[in-house]
């Protein structure tokens, strides 16, 4: 059993739909690392790169579910192999973006991630849940 942990930062739940491709990955990463979702010491909202903060990436295919009657169906989700490929690229691009950011490097912030397609436990501790949905 492996356990990853981040400190203050951004938790990303990611789900790929059918039709998603490699070109989309840098766009998503760029958006998520630059959108102002993190509160700094002065109470201003800044990006996780500007905070700077850690990033935890969680594969969450269930986000692609649609309720049909009392059951959830996942027909819109990408095929598992392609999803794994995009997920791995997503993690790699995030790592590169943080590594290319001087503020992040200086602060020693981390990118951690879950493994695709496996059940994983999660413990989350927030000082105000601040959940957003961003579609691409």
């Amino acid at each position: 059993v492996e356990w990853v942990e981040i400190q203050r930062g951004l938790v990303i739940y990611i789900c790929f739909f059918k039709g998603a491709d490699e070109d989309l990955v840098p766009k998503i990463v760029n958006m998520l690392l630059n959108v102002k979702l993190s509160e700094n010491e002065s109470g201003e909202y800044v990006s996780v790169l500007d905070l700077p903060g850690d990033v935890l990436i969680i594969p969450q295919a269930t986000l692609g579910g649609k309720a049909k009657g009392r059951k959830m169906q996942y027909h819109a989700n990408i095929e598992k192999e392609k999803g794994l490929e995009l997920y791995s690229q997503f993690v790699t691009v995030c790592e590169k973006e943080l590594a290319a950011n001087a503020k992040c490097m200086e602060a020693g912030v981390l990118v951690k991630h879950g493994t695709y397609g496996n059940r994983q436990v999660l413990k989350l501790d927030t000082n105000g849940p601040y959940t957003h949905l961003i579609e691409f």
Copy 2:
């Protein structure tokens, strides 16, 4: 400072958009309490009423945000007063539904909720995050 806590069950993050009204509340509650999102001891998916499990309701207006450039905007969200009204009704209807369910009453399951419009801390512990988005 008040702290509420649930055991095994369902965590609901709720956000009301402009145009939501009272008629919608029982429909949402009925759906969320009956959709099969909870894993029982045998690994089958059942509703939170059938589990039976606790319910934690968290007001989460940020879910209504849309990214505009690098900032989130919340123009689609309902006005604060109306949102509070619907949120209170939502909590009440959930409580009634659980109280009307023999299995839930026997098991002594709980409905707990956050307060609307205030910052609240959250600690979450899952045995596999299993996040779904259900729109009404």
